[in-house]
Symmetry: C2
Subunit: 144 residues, 2 copies
């Protein structure tokens, strides 16, 4: 089976609570993480909560990076969802952990969108060829 997307569920325990409280630091970290992963940023949305905690998402041409922080528990939940072979999501995960001074990181990789090997594939979004994509679409439309 081939997977259309690669999704890292990143659990960051034992982080610096001051870092987790700072929307500026969190935004900057996530945007930089997208860049070190070789992603193309298409949208950014970050929000700070009362009394503390930050939620934010970087939408990339190859899917998204998200973060939710609980400074009171020194915990952050990070998701890095990518597609295509050109990205380095693991590097982004390490980068975020470093910036948040995380002492205990765990990562689960989930393969999303499993499809049969015989289904004609192409690199979606990142580095996709429009013609190949359109062809695959027509072909699959006929198959259903």
């Amino acid at each position: 089976m081939q997977a259309l997307g690669k999704h890292l569920l990143v659990e960051l325990h034992g982080c610096d609570p001051e870092a987790l409280k700072s929307i500026d630091l969190i935004r900057e970290t996530m945007v930089s993480a997208a860049k070190v992963a070789n992603a193309t940023i298409v949208g950014v949305s970050f929000h700070e909560f009362s009394p503390f905690g930050v939620s934010g998402v970087v939408v990339i041409a190859e899917s998204h990076l998200s973060i939710h922080t609980w400074p009171e528990y020194r915990y952050a939940a990070v998701d890095i969802f990518t597609c295509g072979d050109l990205l380095r999501p693991e590097v982004a995960a390490d980068y975020i952990a470093l910036k948040l001074k995380c002492k205990n990181m765990s990562v689960v990789e989930v393969r999303r969108g499993l499809i049969g090997k015989n289904v004609r594939g192409f690199s979606h979004k990142a580095g996709s060829s429009e013609e190949k994509a359109a062809d695959a679409y027509k072909e699959l439309s006929l198959a259903y």
Copy 2:
């Protein structure tokens, strides 16, 4: 162990490809899904890709909902990440599947941010009490 977040990984196969191609329909569906889940929307970011495919995120006070569509495979990857007891993420998942005319949905629930039962908890973000949160933060800061 208690979990700070509840994360549904929703795999939607066999969707209507025309629905998956429409950024307006996808945005409207995700925003409405957040509402039917009882979430408070704080940010929305959606993007359309060439030749087709939509990525988008609804940032909510209780975390986020995201979607990435592959019309050529009739597939969409949806994530519904929530915290607090007041939300109904499963209802949101069903709603999205219905709107995309999904024929084959599977859902994996991941409990995010597991912490010891004895750690003093409070409802984060959604319906949180600032005083309780500040107290818990002080208490935990002392414990580290």
